[in-house]
């Protein structure tokens, strides 16, 4: 996080802690993409992801006095979002592999092949077991290292490393299988 942004956030945080709730909107704007995206990529449901994100921020508002710094705030938001996503996911009926057209809109891609790949990746992500899926999101969306993921998810570091390695293999196998299925369907 660059210095200017750190300074601005620290100021907004201090004002919120002192009771000036109008500065809370600034904190929400700063972190909304992070919280919403973790929920969206995990739950694969935009409206559910938005509900969850709102709940996370409302909980933050209640507990803002306990937040000590911008780094603590980032850690807190990620941890609460991860825990709520896993709880929501358990309550929500597990989806089987959904067709591409029902998956959330993929990130902007430069060519159709990339779009197809992204779509297939998202589809395969949904079929992963809950902790595997969350680890992939934290690793590749949030760019966290295994130690940070282990701290957030309260899992040993070695478990995170081996799970990530295994998950990537699993994703590759799933995508290869999908490609074969498409080929058989066409020919």
């Amino acid at each position: 996080m660059d210095d200017q942004r750190q300074l601005r956030l620290r100021s907004a945080l201090e004002r919120c802690v002192q009771g000036e709730s109008s500065y809370f909107a600034e904190i929400v704007r700063e972190y909304q993409a992070m919280v919403f995206s973790i929920a969206l990529h995990y739950l694969a449901d935009p409206s559910l992801a938005e509900d969850l994100a709102q709940e996370v921020f409302l909980e933050l508002y209640q507990r803002i006095k306990g937040i000590q710094s911008a780094d603590h705030l980032t850690y807190w938001l990620r941890r609460v979002t991860v825990n709520r996503c896993i709880d929501y996911g358990r309550r929500k009926k597990r989806r089987s592999e959904t067709p591409l057209e029902d998956s959330p809109e993929p990130a902007a891609a430069h060519n159709p092949a990339d779009e197809l790949l992204i779509g297939r990746l998202m589809e395969s992500l949904e079929t992963l077991e809950e902790k595997q899926r969350m680890m992939v999101i934290l690793r590749y969306q949030e760019d966290l290292g295994p130690a940070e993921i282990a701290s957030l998810m309260k899992i040993p570091v070695n478990t995170v490393k081996s799970t990530l390695h295994r998950t990537l293999e699993e994703l590759r196998k799933k995508l290869t299988r999908k490609l074969r299925e498409v080929r058989y369907a066409l020919f």
Binding site: V28, A53, F57, L58, A107, M122, Q141, R172
Partner: protein, 132 residues
């Protein structure tokens, strides 16, 4: 089908929530500030106990104190009951004693009256014999 870690990063890029998200959150914050009447009703019938939530050690100490206070209170009640029953028995015995005493007095008076009557009858019979 092969993909790189960059492909995964691309697929998992952060996205913004819909327009008005911050406003919706701030509306929720304003609702919370207004008070309990505008918030969701509590799901639990025991929600009123929430403010009494204490540290587990303190809760245990309070529970023990309540049990001890209850035991002491019961013991005092039991002692009071026993004392009350003894007093009742004492009162009944006193009433019986007084009744017996009153009957003794009445008996004495009746005995005295009976003797006077008997004395009077004896005197009358003596006087009748003298006249004859």
């Amino acid at each position: 089908m092969h993909f790189s870690e960059d492909d995964l990063r691309g697929a998992l890029k952060r996205k913004d929530p819909g327009t008005g998200f911050t406003e919706r959150v701030m509306a929720g914050v304003a609702q919370r500030k207004e008070g309990p009447s505008t918030t969701k009703p509590s799901r639990s019938r025991f929600a009123w106990l929430q403010p009494l939530r204490l540290h587990p050690a303190i809760s245990s100490a309070v529970a023990v104190l309540l049990i001890v206070a209850g035991a002491i209170g019961y013991e005092q009640y039991r002692q009071n009951e026993i004392a009350r029953q003894h007093a009742e028995i004492e009162r009944q015995q006193e009433a019986a004693r007084q009744t017996i005493f009153a009957l003794k007095i009445a008996n004495q008076k009746l005995t005295h009256v009976f003797e006077r009557v008997k004395q009077s009858e004896t005197n009358d019979s003596k006087i009748r014999r003298q006249r004859l």
